[in-house]
């Protein structure tokens, strides 16, 4: 990058927020995606949307690419600058601008941490449901750009279901306002859903208005062990078929159970195939009935153990296995490849079988846990990046898993995004026409291709 150009950037955001030293650039060359690195040309931490507009104008004119980044917890390489361009980190834009209790909305800047918004609205008896695993550090801008999900997806949906209004800086620095605080709005194309999950390729969000709902009054936590995997999968379908929609319906497989037990000693039996963590939330009378149905269904499906937490301390203990799942797996080997293939929930049992078969076929260790209720599984391969052969086999296993997910009517990524990591699988899923339409949209928003290029397709 030319020194004169960097000088212009410094004039906009200030010298201390313009990083160009080798050491800083090196550590902005990664996010949470394993195996992918790409060092940017400069990193900027703007302090206002006006600064972002000026940066975009400047870069648009100079043809320099811009990649938005929140806290860098992306799992598909989406927050890496592909071609030594600029990384724009949103962290300083971290104000919760407003919580509107009459319209039940919150308006935030893109760098607001997801859990900070949770705390703010929950203190007022309100609820913002999306809860990605990284919510203690992930930013709202990143959540919108990736359409983040989380544990509560089954009952409450994902980020897209809550985004009502966006203020977006376009590639040329113009401002686009879409949606707002109204529930009904059919004026023109619905651009919000297009911008949500655009992975930073269509615009830079500077303002986000999300829908809030009343905070559920109560919650009941339950845990069930299943000696046979198939029974656990059938129980999941049966719970939904009984018209109970749990807030949480999480699953741990045998490999994960063993790792959790070795690491955290939470008292899981090693002879079971699957553990389900189930939580129902809502009105106390309703959830009592729902919990009773869940207990009955798990019993019918031959669970070997079932416990309902009687108090918050017990609930905390029951959720421990699920909470420690990733830690327990990640400690086993240096490299952890966490995927998010997603299938219709009726296919969960079949999908788990594919994962197990692929792991066996390619001789790799894959533990699976995840959001059984919405079909979003996290097959997690435990490997060592220095073992090139094993890494190769791991990717071969995942290629089979993605193919199977597509064949079952599922998707290659439920919540992590395509980014760089899943680019080559996307055409298989959406076909040529899908890629053509996406390219057309990209062209309409960003004809010069300066916004997060090289991602998605």
């Amino acid at each position: 990058m030319e020194p004169s150009f960097i000088k212009e950037l410094q004039n906009i955001v200030g010298g201390q927020y313009t990083l160009t030293d080798r050491e800083s650039l090196a550590v902005y060359g990664y996010d949470s995606t394993p195996e992918i690195e790409s060092v940017p040309g400069a990193v900027l931490l703007p302090g206002s949307s006006e600064e972002i507009i000026r940066i975009m104008r400047l870069c648009h004119e100079a043809g320099i690419t811009v990649t938005p980044r929140g806290s860098g917890t992306n799992l598909s390489g989406g927050s890496l600058s592909h071609n030594s361009g600029i990384v724009l980190q949103t962290s300083r834009l971290n104000r919760i601008i407003e919580v509107d209790e009459e319209n039940l909305t919150a308006t935030v800047e893109p760098g607001v941490i997801t859990s900070a918004l949770h705390r703010e609205v929950e203190a007022r008896g309100l609820f913002y449901p999306p809860d990605p695993g990284s919510m203690n550090i992930s930013t709202m801008g990143g959540n919108v750009a990736e359409n983040s999900g989380g544990l509560r997806g089954l009952k409450y949906g994902v980020t897209a279901d809550y985004v009502m209004g966006l203020e977006t800086v376009l590639a040329d620095g113009d401002l686009l306002r879409t949606g707002g605080k109204v529930v009904k709005d059919v004026a023109g194309y619905s651009l919000n859903p297009l911008l949500v999950s655009s992975e930073g390729t269509l615009g830079f969000f500077t303002g986000i208005t999300v829908k809030l709902i009343p905070r559920p009054q109560g919650k009941i936590t339950m845990l069930a062990h299943f000696p046979v995997l198939q029974d656990a999968a059938l129980a999941v379908s049966a719970i939904i078929a009984a018209k109970v929609i749990p807030a949480t319906l999480e699953f741990l497989d045998k490999v994960t159970i063993k790792c959790v037990e070795d690491y955290a000693h939470v008292g899981l039996p090693l002879d079971v195939d699957a553990v389900l963590l189930i939580e129902v939330d809502g009105h106390p009378v309703v959830i009592a009935e729902e919990a009773a149905s869940v207990a009955e269904i798990c019993g019918k499906h031959r669970c070997s153990f079932f416990q309902t937490a009687q108090n918050p301390a017990e609930a905390f203990k029951l959720t421990e296995a699920r909470r420690t799942a990733l830690s327990a797996l990640a400690r086993l080997k240096p490299t952890t490849i966490l995927e998010d293939a997603t299938v219709p929930r009726s296919c969960i049992a079949a999908m788990l079988k594919v994962i197990q078969d692929s792991a066996r076929k390619y001789n790799v260790t894959i533990g699976t846990f995840g959001h059984a209720g919405d079909g979003n599984l996290h097959p997690t391969c435990l490997t060592d990046e220095r073992d090139k052969d094993e890494i190769k086999r791991a990717h071969a296993a995942f290629a089979e898993i993605f193919d199977a997910a597509i064949a079952m009517g599922g998707t290659i990524t439920g919540e992590h995004g395509v980014g760089l990591a899943k680019k080559k699988y996307l055409p298989k899923l959406v076909g040529e026409s899908g890629i053509r339409v996406m390219r057309g949209i990209k062209q309409a928003f960003d004809p010069k291709g300066i916004l997060n290029p090289g991602k998605i397709f």
């Binding site: 090196a26 949470s32 195996e35 992918i36 860098g72 980190q89 830690s327 990640a330 490299t335």
Partner: protein
């Protein structure tokens, strides 16, 4: 399967000493999966939002240095030196990486035989590791405080003429006790009533020199619970300052000396009321890997709160009402390094009449961190400010903690900004409750 844009360079499985042999344990570096869970826990990331000021970033810097992608530049070392080594990142890490310790060990290796700044050298190498020297060095300070000279100097602003670190240090020092506890305490304090066991008391340097009342309270609590307390007078510094000063050999020597000294006594536990010492003593087994006596020594080390918590019922029976609003600040060396969080809170709640308030982010560093508050005053002050804000929000009248570094830092911070809030060591407030006279 190659992935674009380019795969990360990584050395082969063999040769875990690393490309340049700069750092000993390559596997520890690649265990970091860069998930970012450490970011919200890190005080310096919270202040700066910079990846270079985050635990994940520091591990990456050391790793890239090891892999030859970066050089050992001034800037890189400057970035690493922003780490407080509070180890909050270790508590947050899902895969067991301890970035704080990694950086500390790396820095220790690098500093070996290297010249240090005047204050760092004076404190870490010349004074603190040697109790006798440290004690005599503070004699002039004691005279200075007691003669009224301190007031005069502060009034005239003479300190502004000295290097900034010296001015900081002068401001941090509270009024010193007449004599260090180490010179006064009897080697054996008998148990009160029926003897239940014997403990060795490890008297930290700063506790002895500055917070001797707290250590007296510790001994009082132990003896009143039926422990015979042995305080060997020839014990030496735990060795933590050696590590900060890049003197691993000095740390090991200190460890051997203390292991031999305490090994000469039959004790059930080795107790300390200094969080920093406790954390270091518990690492002797790690530092002297393979040495059984070190393992056994470390296995006996307990923070005072751990021992007191064993006797909660007896303690409760002796405590009298203290109607105070109280909160607990978790020292990093107790919460993050030793994993102790429950015991101090449970003990405070034993005191009748206490209105216990939980501090928001109670386990966030206060910015003291060894000599960090002297070496890096600006960052230290920013971190301290956050802590003071949470203390104010809690409405507590008394802040209780368990580590002399925190006591020094917070005492000064409270005096400057929240003069109505008192600070006490855990054992001081418990003894005060024991000594309450009935009306």
């Amino acid at each position: 399967m190659p992935r674009e844009p380019h795969p990360h360079p990584s050395p082969p499985l063999e040769g875990e000493g690393g490309v340049k042999g700069l750092y000993m344990d390559y596997v520890k570096l690649i265990n970091c999966m860069r998930c970012g869970m450490c970011l919200p826990a890190c005080p310096t990331y919270r202040e700066t939002f910079l990846e270079t000021a985050s635990p994940r970033g520091r591990v990456a810097l050391v790793r890239k240095l090891q892999e030859g992608e970066l050089d050992q530049s001034e800037r890189l070392l400057e970035y690493l030196s922003l780490c407080l080594d509070c180890q909050a990142c270790a508590s947050a890490c899902p895969c067991g990486v301890n970035a704080g310790e990694l950086v500390a060990e790396f820095t220790c290796e690098r500093k070996e035989g290297v010249e240090m700044g005047f204050m760092e050298d004076l404190i870490l190498r010349k004074l603190v590791p040697h109790p006798d020297r440290l004690e005599s060095s503070l004699v002039p300070m004691r005279i200075y405080q007691r003669s009224g000279l301190q007031k005069l100097v502060r009034k005239l602003g003479i300190l502004k003429m000295f290097p900034r670190p010296l001015e900081r240090m002068e401001g941090l020092l509270p009024e010193l006790p007449a004599r260090p506890l180490r010179q006064e305490i009897q080697e054996i304090t008998p148990a009160e009533g029926i003897e239940r066991g014997t403990v060795g008391f490890f008297l930290g340097c700063v506790m002895s020199l500055i917070f001797s009342d707290a250590s007296r309270a510790t001994i009082k609590l132990l003896s009143s619970l039926g422990y015979r307390v042995i305080t060997p007078r020839n014990q030496v510094c735990c060795g933590a300052p050696n590590m900060l000063g890049g003197d691993m050999a000095g740390l090991k020597e200190a460890a051997h000396t203390n292991i031999d000294i305490f090994g000469g006594h039959e004790v059930d536990f080795i107790v300390t009321d200094c969080g920093g010492c406790g954390a270091e003593l518990k690492r002797y087994g790690h530092h002297l890997g393979g040495y059984d006596a070190a393992e056994s020594f470390s296995g006996k080390v307990r923070d005072i709160s751990q021992v007191l918590a064993l006797h909660a019922d007896e303690l409760r029976a002796r405590l009298k009402p203290l109607p105070l609003k109280v909160t607990w600040h978790d020292p990093c060396h107790i919460a993050h390094c030793q994993g102790i969080r429950k015991e101090p809170r449970d003990l405070l709640k034993l005191v009748p009449g206490i209105d216990y308030r939980e501090l928001e982010a109670a386990d966030a560093c206060c910015g003291s961190a060894g000599t960090y508050n002297i070496e890096r005053p600006e960052m230290s002050d920013r971190i301290l400010k956050r802590k003071l804000d949470t203390i104010q929000a809690s409405g507590a009248e008394v802040l209780v903690t368990g580590n002399p570094g925190c006591l020094l830092q917070l005492k000064k911070g409270l005096a400057d900004h929240l003069p109505d809030v008192r600070i006490m060591h855990l054992t001081e407030i418990l003894v005060r409750s024991m000594n309450v006279q009935p009306d």
